[in-house]
């Protein structure tokens, strides 16, 4: 084992003012590896093995985000999530070994801010934590897309919890992770020019693998899907207009419900 377990479960280290993350996982080694990785990325980290320890820390320390494993001895992670959400809006990223779609949706519906399937890689966890923190500090709430569960434009609908897009006929159109993030960025700022850097930033939130395509390629892929244009190049009829020298603008009116 690389790390020695802490001598006392509920010792709270000195608060340095950095973002404090509580990692709740019953696997000691993984817990320590995650903690070490997050510390090396500038976070202050607390570790707990179960619900009891988690509650102990929550009483005694400031916690900015919880990384919560679903499979815990005693009270399950899902149950802990339910308890937490009764009186707390603390951002929560769930970890699961199940990884099926329905588990993910259940977690998100119960108020988790994001959901990661094992075996995730370190950069992915970091990206999700950053993204959740940015989102929650911006909106002040724990939910996606400024609190709206459904967003609509020109008959199209987006379910922000399930991260699903459906066309005016109610047909579900599968989006890649970065396409969805891009669309989300557009939906949060309709009829405003978004620069390539802003969009790249939004689309990068979740990207784990290295080979990002340029933002133009991502936009043209998104256009194919929401314009029904096979090439994704026709700018005149597109819902996403190219603003020369500046970036892109999402044209339709966006309704949040």
């Amino acid at each position: 084992m690389m790390q020695k377990p802490p001598q006392n479960d509920s010792v709270v280290p000195v608060d340095t003012g950095a973002t404090q993350v509580l990692v709740v996982d019953d696997d000691r080694s993984l817990q320590q590896l995650v903690a070490k990785f997050l510390r090396s990325n500038g976070y202050q980290v607390l570790t707990a093995q179960d619900g009891r320890e988690m509650h102990e820390y929550l009483r005694r320390a400031r916690v900015d985000l919880i990384v919560l494993d679903v499979m815990l001895p005693g009270t399950s992670g899902i149950e802990l999530l339910r308890e937490l959400r009764r009186n707390s809006a603390v951002p929560i990223v769930m970890l699961t070994a199940q990884g099926h779609e329905t588990d993910r949706i259940l977690g998100l519906e119960l108020g988790a801010d994001d959901y990661l399937s094992k075996p995730f890689n370190p950069r992915e966890l970091l990206a999700r934590i950053r993204s959740v923190l940015r989102r929650t500090s911006a909106s002040g709430t724990g939910t996606n897309s400024g609190g709206a569960r459904h967003v609509a434009f020109e008959g199209w609908r987006v379910d922000t919890l399930r991260r699903e897009l459906s066309n005016p006929d109610g047909v579900s159109i599968d989006l890649s992770t970065s396409e969805y993030d891009l669309l989300q960025a557009f939906l949060n700022a309709p009829q405003r020019v978004l620069t390539r850097d802003q969009l790249l930033d939004a689309a990068r939130n979740r990207i784990a693998t290295g080979f990002d395509r340029s933002i133009d390629v991502q936009v043209s892929r998104l256009r194919r899907k929401i314009d029904g244009d096979v090439d994704g190049t026709d700018d005149t009829t597109s819902k996403i207009k190219t603003i020369r020298g500046q970036g892109y603008m999402f044209m339709p009116e966006v309704i949040k419900t």
């Binding site: 080694s29 590896l33 329905t102 075996p119």
Partner: protein
Amino acid sequence: MLVLVLGLGLFHAASLLTYTASLNSELSAQDNVRLAERLVAIRNALKAAPSIERETLAHQMSGGPVDAHWGQRALAVETPADSSTRAPLKKLMTSLVPELTRETLRVGTSPPLQDGAIDTHLTMVSVGLGDGTWANVTVVNSGHLHGSSTSIAMATTLMAIGVMVATWLLVRWSTRPLRALADAAQQFSGSALSPPLSDTGPHEVREAATAFNGMQRRIRSLIQDRALSLAAISHDLKTPLTRLRFRVDDLSDQELKQSIADDIDEMEEMINGTIAFLRGEASPEDSRPLELRAILENICFDHADRGYEVSLSGSGKGILHGQSSELKRAFSNLIQNALKYGDVARVSITDAPGRVEVVIEDDGPGIPSEQLIAVFTPFYRVDQSRGRETGGVGLGLTVADRVVTAHEGTIKLTNTTPRGLRVVVTLPLAPTLQAVRSS
């Protein structure tokens, strides 16, 4: 069933034949005795009567098939052909009246008519009265008196048909549970949740059904145990794999780091494939209208971004009713197979009336034609013949096939020339949505 009908039919025909034959001989034997007695009675009466009354008496003694006359001559004509059929009668009469000899008893036919024809329906017997006069008696042939034999055949045949129909229905009723048993055994695939057989029908069939249900339960629990342990292992491997990812992150040797990361990716892929297979048909995902093209675009672009040679052509949309993540997995498996064995994946999607066709082609060695079906069985590998390490656990095609079948589609593999494999997946389009789209 055919055996039963044939057997019954043959038996019926044979018994009908023997019955009518014995009936006929019985009847004719009895008739001959009675006839002989009557003929002897006529002869004796005429012999005892004075000549003047004989003709009148003969008339009085006639009746039914018998017509008697008194005359100076013997009218019966004996022909050799008659001797066999009429001999019994002659013999009987001689036994009753021993003094009747060949000269005083003639059994034959009536004399030929004017045109020389002989009435074969009549038998004529001439009996000498001992004074040179004769009693000539014509008798209507007995065989014709029993003409009702055809109606007997009809009646019994009808009865036999009735028996056959009744038997057929009974046999069908009693074998129906057996057929159900055979069907259930055929359908039982282990993983499929086939319902237990109902224990109705005859005793033996009930016992067989109970035994079958027991066996089905045992097999199912064996399969479940296997699946549970495999799933448990797969899930348990995820945490150590995650740890490994974190540990690798600390390595300074970039080359080593990358190769270990690749190994972990491969292991993850195998675990996910196994879990997808074990989840079986019981996918909890909702079915909903979706665009297959968007799913294919995501898979193709994702692989293209990672440096693989993948192309997507065709303008089909493939609006269908289905389970999004299941379809994603099925087509990912097929496209990954193409890349793994054939280095490239050329994907095309075409809408046809009522269905969408997705074709995936590669430039690999293809699959030996005798294995084109076998590759769909779980854990099957074609690798031995390829001499190439490709990874995977042999579940990709199994899962793809099951997902496509669950969506009422078909999946077909063919080898292309000069080399390569062509996978054609056909899925039914959602009918109402198709109409909406085309309007």
